[in-house]
Symmetry: C2
Subunit: 241 residues, 2 copies
Amino acid sequence: MPKVKYDTIYKNLKQKIETEEYSFQELLPSEHTLVLEYGCSRNTVRRAIAELVKEGYVQSVQGKGVLNIFRPVEQSTFKMGSIESFKESAIRNHQEYFTNVVHFETIQANQKIEKKTSFPQGTELIYIQRIHYFDGKPLIVNHNYFLKALLPGLSKEIAQHSIYEYIENTLGMVIVTSKRVMTVEKMNEIDMKYIDLKDYNCLAVVSSFTYNQEGVMFEYTQSRHHPDYFKFVDIATRRNG
Amino acid sequence: MPKVKYDTIYKNLKQKIETEEYSFQELLPSEHTLVLEYGCSRNTVRRAIAELVKEGYVQSVQGKGVLNIFRPVEQSTFKMGSIESFKESAIRNHQEYFTNVVHFETIQANQKIEKKTSFPQGTELIYIQRIHYFDGKPLIVNHNYFLKALLPGLSKEIAQHSIYEYIENTLGMVIVTSKRVMTVEKMNEIDMKYIDLKDYNCLAVVSSFTYNQEGVMFEYTQSRHHPDYFKFVDIATRRNG
DNA sequence: ATACCAAACTTGTTTAAACAAGTCAATGTG
DNA sequence: CACATTGACTTGTTTAAACAAGTTTGGTAT
């Protein structure tokens, strides 16, 4: 956790919004007031506010002030605009979770895999299939493809626990950007084998391409979610032109 | 279109990335170089780059430079992190489009509608059902709820053409933020009536809450998409803590 | 040749200041 | 009373400068 000023101000304001110290549709203190309150420059305050705007917590209105437009979203499986591991997500939603590794293998990318993952043919990959359980129910089938060169010691045991913890804490690799594509797909044999879809015949599918701090894509993951337990929140802003 | 400096620099860089003047995995010119090139301050250049980072076009690496990580995504129905009308989206993807208004009515929000749209009970709303066609195929069922007080002259004819054009150009209202929730839902009678889902029994559903420049939510829309033609792209960044 | 270190780059954070532009209320004038 | 204007607020854009921190390169001493 970085102890940069704008980040502490951002977290502080965010908390005050979430705990409704500032109520919905109310104006936050003006930038000038916050400058005095936090003893920093206006730019630093503005940067903190910019983060909140990006997350849809507030909206700046020129000439008036910064408006609180935060409405809590009930138990969303995914948190918007941020990368979150399955474990973190479960903890945030106060749920029981469990992961079962059903497949663990080193493979070489062929043409079909290249098309799907965009890893070039011949690349050595670790391919993992995992089933994620929330409150005892199997809800997500995960297909992970990791660049073997960057995750040398990845084992089945680590996959069972938390791969992201291994990547960040053990390897010291920094995860920066992830491009995610959401689609709806028909169920396949693997989905059917592990997940009870009731009378659905399709799932919510999130495909993600994840990059480390050096701009190298080291992971392709396809997550296939039970429709009843999938929710994805996004904040969009209108760009002029 | 605002003629602010950082925006023109942003657009310029973006275009150079899209046309591969800077190639994938290549470093962009350093901030200092760009300062000289555009004749502006470093902050202004940094602001333009920040926009590109937000959209997943580039990734800054401290000590090294700004890396181009842009990969074109084939025809995505939705554009990430921005608000786009159905008409704009169709134009961007060079598709034939057509909208059919099948229902147009003024209603008062009851308890059920309040729960769904978060408009308080008793609020006067304009409720519109529209079917969107791409290349002759009906692909999207749209349920719009507009705050009647803010869109007094909204008519069936406008709904057929483009509601956003009316809002922005005629009313001069500025659309700023939209919170979108994506889910997968089973088809209902209306879906079945208008859309040929083949052997799917569910759709991709996007619910959006849209705010104007004054922080007033004036629209709730539920868009129900044919799974084969739905794709949603998102860029996530890892926040520390 | 190797190892180390310093200099010269890169981006990241913070401050300070000025001016532009939008909002609002009080004040004045007709 | 109605209306325009002014002035005091608000956020938005841009510049300039300093220092922190990470990566690269090249030279020096071993």
